[in-house]
Symmetry: C2
Subunit: 309 residues, 2 copies
């Protein structure tokens, strides 16, 4: 089969070798492809009362654009994919450039390919999501001093909901609000979007398109990408051990619970959380003592934990 492959001829009578020699790869106009990496981390909230345990906050890294278009606005770190670089490698490179960490959790999210996203030219962007542990973040070496800031995320899902009848069925539109606040409180990004769920006759789908964006101070359609990532993060949290990537190797159950609560945007009942999470955990010898209360056992992720079987 693979031996006589060289002898197969196409309609023009070319062998594969001849075909490739004659192939004009520039025949069609090509879009540009970028990779954008959403970098999330979870940190302790800064708190006045040092007798309380700090809550956690979810944060995302954004860079300030230094050139047109959207000059001066904030954007998800990203860049063009090298012609000899895989998408995964491009995402890793971007992550390394911005945070100086490698070997962290990295997952492809979605590819955005609307036609007029970028005024320069046709750009298709592949979005990746990275989850990093705060403690691994090494301040990156000098560089061209691009402005980079961590933004605290406030994600308000389903602020309101409206149902509209259409000919064949209906649409549900849900309002989503996103607030991003930089650490120094100098920069504030507000996003307001509508998630449209269509249910029409034979076209049954609860997939959603995000529509009607209103936002300030953030470049391109990046608020849409952030919203999509947050939804995915919440979903994956429920059925994968993805959250462990946001903590160091060792942690207390309460710390873990606070990570879940922060991302899910709701509080959980401690006994139930402990019950559900405990099969995923491995005890260590260590204890964590803090303030004036009972020390907590320190756990690590149970690498042998199994979803099923």
């Amino acid at each position: 089969m693979s031996l006589d492959k060289r002898c197969l001829l196409n309609a023009k009578g070319e062998t594969e070798e001849e075909f490739l020699r004659n192939y004009d790869s520039e025949r069609y106009k090509k879009p540009s492809v970028t990779v954008d990496t959403l970098i999330f981390t979870v940190t302790d909230e800064v708190i006045e009362n040092n007798r309380k345990l700090p809550d956690k906050e979810l944060r995302i890294l954004l860079v300030k654009r230094k050139d047109h278009p959207y000059i001066g606005q904030w954007a998800i770190p990203g860049g063009f994919v090298g012609i000899n670089e895989s998408l995964d490698d491009a995402a890793k490179r971007e992550l390394m450039e911005e945070t100086n960490v490698d070997s962290v959790y990295l997952e492809q999210l979605y590819t955005i390919g609307e036609v007029n996203r970028d005024p320069r030219m046709r750009v298709i962007s592949v979005a990746y999501m990275a989850l990093v542990d705060e403690k691994n973040l090494k301040p990156k070496a000098g560089d061209d001093a691009a402005e980079v800031k961590w933004f605290k995320i406030k994600f308000m899902d389903k602020v309101s909901e409206e149902k509209v009848k259409t000919e064949k069925g209906f649409k549900v539109s849900r309002d989503i609000k996103i607030e991003l606040i930089s650490d120094d409180r100098e920069d504030l990004i507000l996003g307001s979007l509508k998630q449209i769920e269509k249910r029409e006759g034979s076209m049954i789908s609860i997939d959603t398109e995000i529509d009607k964006i209103e936002t300030n101070n953030i470049a391109f359609d990046h608020i849409k990408v952030i919203s999509y990532a947050l939804e995915r993060l919440r979903n994956k949290l429920e059925y994968t051990p993805i959250a462990f990537n946001l903590l160091g190797e060792c942690f207390t159950i309460t710390e873990l619970q606070k990570v879940y609560e922060t991302i899910l945007g709701k509080s959980l009942l401690t006994p139930n959380f402990r019950r559900k999470i405990s099969p995923m955990l491995q005890e260590t010898e260590m204890m964590k003592t803090e303030f004036q209360h009972r020390p907590a056992k320190v756990y690590r992720y149970n690498i042998e934990w199994n979803n099923e079987f």
Copy 2:
């Protein structure tokens, strides 16, 4: 804000208008971008004994490549994305060209961007998944008589499993086998792949990379894409009403159950299935009478059904 946008200057002192005029969009070498659409349907199994209800089978549409590379082998229908065409539109166009249906379920799956997937040039492929109802398939008009065939899918998940220790943790590799058989039984495609799950220290991830493909008669890395789509289809089946897209508007519960069983690759207990599915259904006045047994109520999808709240 948007008014004084015209006055913002970049490092070279250009306004946005000047910047765009001077921008050389061909500065970097660009990859080519294709959209590949996996088209699935479910049909009745052809059965000898006409006193039995037919089971269902899951099928995928493949096209025979008429040119290099992989000439004569089978491939997922796809093509280059037009420079003024969104990714979704390209997927819809591909679907329309191959099956002559529009407004069916269509979902973006994954973007494949390894460097040497295509010997012609660097190609990045965005995979979409379409679910169509067999009855909507209109034979498409003439065209250039490209060879197109439906293949019955046999998907064998987790044929075997092997656990290997690494420095920091372990890997689990699972064997997957895929068999694709054309209706006329002339073409047979066998795929054998390994799914690798890594669990290593701080890098906790149950996402999997599919590796070490062995296959015949199918072009590019398309067996990998099919495998990925089947996993996704199975997952989505459990928590979305995606399956209804594979049936017409009206159906019996048994038909629906057979669709679930076919895709999940296992049989389900009828009373439990009926109980779980019934909130998603709406009764109709119709009954379906067949052979020598009790007629079945005909249902349609309950468009008001709600996942949550």
